[in-house]
């Protein structure tokens, strides 16, 4: 049996069904939907969700414009968007703005607006879809607040640190000035007394005076090295390619007298390649390591020191190997710390800061230091820096 329903009625039914579907779609959506008059921007139809979101009933909203429920600070931007859309522009991004609810609360929404035109292209209606983004905005604000607090805390800590650092500078200055003045006094008065002492006077007195003078000189070296150590951290270094040979030559010149005095044999084994460093600093580092190598030798033994380099793909390591007293394994990792003087070292002059200073300098130049040693046979100190081309 053929269907008896006439075509126009079928069309009407279809239209009714579609309309019903859209109505449900409009009504039950989990977002706020509104149809707005393009002339007045008053609400023509809204769904339940929007009623809940704004706190106004549909009846009330019909007497309100979009502008009326938009936060005063967001109205200008909202109007601007509307103007663009009316001029035919398509806006890619939804806008984020604030509505004022009926009870005065502020609610953040993400709004997508579309202009519906008639067949001639004349704007007929505005369709607005809004979702509640208050929770996200609140979270964002919280994150921002925490970020600000963190920044503030970091700034506070940095200021504290800068303060501590300047206190340290002031302290080292005081150490230099105030500690060295009485030291100078002790030493000079001891020398006056020595000078005034008749030559045949009790030897013990002369001996004591000599010990006073030696002690003050040691203390003075210690203070100066401590100052140098604290200053290294703040010093500006200009790192550039430098031939290690130059630093070794500088050091040998500085130590010429000492090498002569102990009749040492210093064997420099080329090639000593170029590294990234600073000539004066490296000269002092090599000088210190060489001077240690000459110093820590068993009584009566002639110091023999080898200076040689080893290179790999991007680093160069300079070794200073001696035939000295060596360092027991349990002490080796303490060697580069400030004030770590081993018992054996107590019979040799020095402040106990030199190796710490060496380590700090090399680290500031981007390198590392180390040692290997066998007690009674000798030590081999090394430092390693980035290889350079000259």
């Amino acid at each position: 049996m053929a269907p008896a329903t006439p075509r126009p009625t079928e069309d009407g039914e279809l239209h009714r069904q579609t309309e019903e579907e859209y109505r449900v779609f409009f009504e039950v959506a989990a977002v706020g939907n509104a149809i707005v008059d393009v002339g007045t921007r008053t609400f023509l139809r809204v769904n339940k969700y929007l009623e809940k979101l704004t706190g106004y009933s549909e009846h009330e909203l019909r007497r309100l414009t979009i502008g009326a429920i938009t936060h005063p600070d967001d109205r200008a931007a909202d109007l601007e968007r509307f103007r663009k859309m009316m001029a035919g522009e398509t806006l890619e991004e939804p806008s984020e703005k604030r509505y004022i609810r009926k009870n005065g609360e502020v609610v953040w929404v993400s709004a997508t607006e579309t202009i519906v035109t008639n067949v001639e292209g004349v704007p007929r209606l505005e369709i607005v879809v809004v979702s509640d983004i208050t929770a996200r905005k609140r979270a964002e604000a919280e994150v921002e607040c925490l970020r600000r607090k963190l920044e503030l805390k970091v700034a506070e800590r940095s200021a504290e640190l800068a303060d501590k650092s300047s206190q340290l500078e002031a302290f080292t200055y005081t150490v230099a000035h105030d500690l060295r003045a009485p030291l100078r006094a002790i030493n000079c008065y001891a020398e006056y007394v020595s000078e005034a002492l008749p030559p045949l006077e009790d030897k013990r007195v002369a001996n004591c005076l000599q010990r006073i003078k030696d002690a003050t000189r040691r203390l003075d070296t210690l203070i100066r090295d401590l100052l140098a150590y604290t200053r290294i951290a703040e010093m500006e270094l200009s790192v550039h390619p430098i031939a290690l040979q130059l630093a070794v030559d500088d050091a040998l010149r500085m130590l010429a007298n000492e090498i002569d005095r102990c009749a040492a044999e210093v064997r420099v084994e080329p090639p000593l390649p170029a590294v990234y460093g600073e000539r004066t600093m490296l000269g002092h580092v090599v000088c210190h390591l060489l001077s240690n190598a000459l110093k820590f030798v068993a009584r009566g033994k002639r110091p023999v020191v080898r200076v040689f380099a080893e290179e790999n793909s991007d680093r160069v390591r300079l070794y200073i190997a001696d035939n000295g007293i060596g360092i027991p394994p349990q002490h080796q990792d303490r060697m580069f710390r400030v004030f770590e003087r081993l018992e054996a070292a107590l019979c040799h002059p020095g402040s106990g800061i030199g190796l710490a200073l060496t380590k700090k300098v090399i680290e500031r130049l981007g390198g590392s230091v180390g040692l290997s040693s066998v007690e009674g046979q000798g030590s081999m100190f090394w430092f390693e820096l980035r290889k350079a081309e000259l």
């Binding site: 003045a181 100078r184 006094a185 000189r217 100066r224």
Partner: protein, 149 residues
């Protein structure tokens, strides 16, 4: 040839005493006038108050100043001297225990002719005093000769 008149600005009594002894040995003709800080040095240079008598407190040929002192420190004194047309003519030497690079460059910026570190050993101090005394005797002698010509 007569010796040099040094105005030593030094707050540490011991250091002042060592300098006096060292200069007595280095240049017996030199005269050492010692004041205790920058403020006193300014009074001395202007011949004010207790320094009014110029036969007792002659105008110095050279000023040797410490840096860290109460009331007015050495750098402030150097600044004042550099700003004064008359005092600017007097050579200024810094003698301090400060090895801080900032102090060294500030001193030279403020017109110091030399920057010397106080030695700990008496022998070094004697050598330093001798060098200072000899240098300025020669230098001031030469400029006096120039003026005579």
């Amino acid at each position: 040839m007569t010796g040099t008149t040094f105005l030593v600005v030094e707050d540490d009594e011991n250091d002042a005493e060592f300098l006096r002894t060292a200069f007595r040995r280095a240049g017996p003709d030199d005269r050492l006038q010692i004041v205790r800080n920058g403020e006193e040095a300014v009074r001395y240079l202007s011949g004010a108050g207790e320094f009014a008598n110029r036969s007792l407190h002659p105008t110095p040929d050279v000023v040797i100043t410490d840096l860290k002192m109460p009331h007015m420190n050495g750098l402030e004194l150097l600044r004042l001297m550099q700003a004064d047309t008359k005092w600017r003519q007097v050579p200024r030497v810094v003698l301090t225990s400060s090895t801080a690079p900032a102090d060294v460059s500030a001193a030279f910026d403020l017109g110091a002719a030399a920057y010397l570190i106080k030695p700990v050993a008496l022998q070094e101090l004697n050598t330093m005093a001798k060098a200072i005394s000899d240098f300025w005797r020669l230098s001031i002698g030469l400029s006096r000769l120039d003026r005579l010509r």
